[in-house]
């Protein structure tokens, strides 16, 4: 392989054309790709990981959300599913994929979901012991622990107190943040290196096992034995091309949207089939509560608390960070009328109503301009979203004593009573819900579009191992589930290709080491507002 290198850690950032060859070529370095690459490299196969994004660390992360989103999110954070309603679909684009920009929330796969997956996949998860072993290993590698109360932010605490007041089942999130300093900036890339994202926890092991990890390389064409694409610099200028040969397999771990898009764009499979079908987006609908007192006074984790009272109805309420830039579009006021509320933006708390959707969408080819995602909110999910938003409003108004709530719907207004909330949501058309998705899943499901080891049906030698592989929505933040499924599938691929699978978790002596960046940070009290609102 000839590879001019600009910057080198354990990864390589090419400065122009490059070529390569490996037993297994893996496209994508996120939750699925990192696990697959580690499993296969440590099983003795030569592995080459191609990542379109770049490596970032606390020395290079930007505190500006807009910059972070532009750098580290798919399509500059503007990727959108077309349908009713149109919905932003977030996804990471960095070495480590979405694990670099998620909130580190680490749910185990619910038993009932695993049983459902097994049924939908025709028995791919029959060996539950193997799955739970994989999940235990993943959690150990990522140092998943419950968020301690001291790391709950002000808005987490309001969320928790309101749930407690209502007697609702509620918990602190389990998270993979062994050195969390409470900055509340997980989604910009952790500024202190406190999160065990896979660029820290796993990908160095790929290099240590003799694998190669190459960034800035955007796959445009895949086949059973090759991957081709273009090389970009950090300003997204195309500076070259690449072509790599896979001697044994190509694994797509580019995410729920990009993996099927690559297959369809490359004509590996015909459009209109199972690849790309079955997309679930795990939509979120936000409800803001406005309080008499500041709720952001205490910093802490970006998301630390959730309400599980409505889990059987496929609804979870998750404490969301209070972000001023998100509050402005979330309230109906603007101009001078908005002044009192904006100057007291730290009085807002936010909860995300996460709906385990039952409806399905589809990924179609891109035509070179980003994936085309089709997704309509089903009637059932729409009703569930309305129920969830009603619960969220109750959390703030009755549990937390909020002065009013803002339901994030088009044409919404502030509601001061539950009757107003119910009136607003009654018969609300699907197009007026403002939802977003951070957890697209199941677009190339095992058992539906792929065999039980992830090999795409009708495309021998090409595998998909990422969130696409899930047979259905987890209904929870899916990081741990995606990595556990990836481990199970990668073990099967490794065995099939003649490798010898090694444990993912190497025991306490092998705890990953988070670099110490020495960034002045930590739990601190922000200053009060400089200007009190003029009502």
């Amino acid at each position: 392989m000839t590879l001019p290198v600009l910057q080198t850690g354990f990864w390589e950032e090419p400065a122009g054309d490059w070529e390569g060859e490996a037993d297994v070529v893996i496209v994508g370095s996120g939750a699925g790709g990192a696990v697959a690459a580690t499993t296969l490299a440590e099983a003795g196969l030569s592995v080459l990981v191609i990542e379109e994004g770049f490596a970032w660390d606390p020395n290079t992360h930007s505190p500006d959300t807009s910059v972070a989103i532009a750098r580290m999110f798919q399509e500059g954070g503007l990727r959108t599913a077309l349908g009713t309603p149109p919905m932003p679909v977030a996804g990471g684009k960095a070495l480590g994929g979405s694990t670099v920009v998620n909130s580190a929330i680490s749910f185990r796969t619910p038993e009932s979901v695993l049983a459902e997956w097994n049924e939908l996949s025709g028995g791919a998860f029959e060996d539950t012991d193997a799955y739970y072993r994989a999940m235990d290993e993943v959690e150990a590698v990522l140092s998943v622990e419950p968020t301690p109360d001291r790391l709950l932010s002000g808005y987490d605490r309001v969320h928790k107190d309101a749930a407690e007041a209502l007697g609702w089942s509620n918990y602190n999130f389990r998270r993979n943040t062994p050195r969390c300093a409470g900055c509340g900036r997980c989604n910009n890339g952790c500024p202190v290196g406190g999160k065990a994202s896979v660029d820290i926890a796993l990908l160095p092991r790929v290099a240590a096992a003799g694998g190669r990890v190459v960034t800035g390389s955007v796959a445009r064409f895949v086949a059973a034995n090759k991957v081709e694409g273009v090389v970009e610099d950090r300003s997204r200028n195309i500076i070259g091309s690449f072509s790599v040969t896979a001697k044994k397999a190509v694994i797509l771990s580019a995410g729920t949207i990009a993996s099927p898009r690559l297959l369809l764009d490359s004509d590996v499979v015909p459009s209109g089939g199972e690849v790309g079908a079955g997309l679930m987006v795990h939509p979120v609908f936000t409800v803001l509560g406005y309080f008499a007192e500041r709720v952001v006074a205490a910093p802490g984790s970006s998301q630390g608390h959730y309400v599980d009272e409505f889990g059987e109805d496929r609804i979870v309420l998750e404490s969301n960070p209070t972000i001023p830039g998100a509050i402005f579009p979330g309230i109906p006021m603007w101009g001078k009328e908005a002044w009192p509320y904006l100057s007291r933006a730290s009085n807002f708390a936010s909860t995300g109503v996460m709906v385990r959707d039952s409806g399905r969408g589809r990924i179609v080819g891109s035509g070179g301009a980003g994936a085309s995602i089709k997704y309509d909110l089903s009637k059932e999910d729409q009703e569930r979203a309305a129920r969830g938003m009603t619960h969220a409003a109750q959390l703030w108004l009755e549990g937390g004593g909020a002065e009013f709530v803002n339901l994030n719907v088009y044409g919404g207004q502030e509601c001061r009573t539950m009757d107003e909330v119910r009136g607003l949501l009654q018969d609300l058309p699907a197009g007026r819900f403002i939802g977003y998705s951070s957890h697209p899943q199941a677009s190339c499901s095992v058992g539906r579009a792929a065999r039980q080891d992830g090999e795409v049906i009708g495309a021998d030698g090409v595998y998909v191992i990422d969130a696409s592989s899930l047979p259905a929505n987890v209904g929870r933040n899916p990081q741990i589930s995606v990595m556990s499924v990836a481990r199970v599938l990668a073990e099967r691929v490794a065995s099939k290709l003649g490798g010898t699978v090694k444990p993912l978790w190497r025991g306490a002596g092998a705890l990953f080491s988070v670099p110490q960046y020495g960034v002045a940070c930590g739990l601190h009290t922000p200053p009060p507002p400089a200007v009190d609102a003029a009502d």
């Binding site: 532009a70 500024p191 301009a369 922000p526």
Partner: protein
């Protein structure tokens, strides 16, 4: 004949409205230095929109239409992938020329007087038309990504300076 007459009238009316729109297109002021994407016309539209949405003189520093916000808007556009940038450039134009579809007739948004300007935007914010509501929310989101990223704005709202930000 009646149909022909009606069609001709429609075409002439549309042509007149179009000419008025073009004729009243904003006379852009001097371009801000250091911008890489936004044209002078786009800057003029965003300035007017920003000063309406986040007017100066309130409890928060600056405004949605001041130079700093516009520079951040330019940087936001520059950060977009090409196809999204092309699409997003339609946003200010929708507001600029949306007057043609409203009761404000054939005068561009940036040429409306203060009172009519506010009334025009109220029409957007209160609209029950989903497409208009979506564009309005998108516009507010764009200012959310720019004005509300300013450190002095965040500080004045009582938000901590994010960890890692150079002091």
């Amino acid at each position: 004949m009646l149909v022909f007459g009606a069609a001709t009238t429609g075409v002439l009316a549309a042509a007149y409205a179009g000419l008025r729109q073009v004729g009243t297109y904003p006379e852009p002021g001097p371009q801000l230095e250091g911008l890489s994407v936004l044209s002078r016309k786009e800057v003029a539209i965003f300035r007017r929109l920003g000063d309406q949405l986040l007017p100066p003189g309130g409890p928060l520093p600056g405004s949605g239409g001041d130079d700093e916000t516009l520079r951040r808007m330019d940087a936001f556009y520059a950060s977009m992938p090409d196809h999204k940038r092309t699409l997003s450039r339609g946003l200010p134009l929708a507001f600029e020329h949306g007057t043609g579809l409203d009761r404000f007739g054939a005068r561009c948004f940036t040429k409306l007087g203060e009172e009519r300007c506010a009334a025009y935007l109220t029409g957007w914010s209160d609209s029950q038309l989903i497409v208009k509501a979506q564009l309005w929310t998108a516009l507010k989101t764009f200012y959310g990504m720019t004005y509300f990223e300013r450190p002095e704005v965040l500080a004045s709202m009582g938000f901590a300076v994010p960890c890692g930000r150079p002091s």
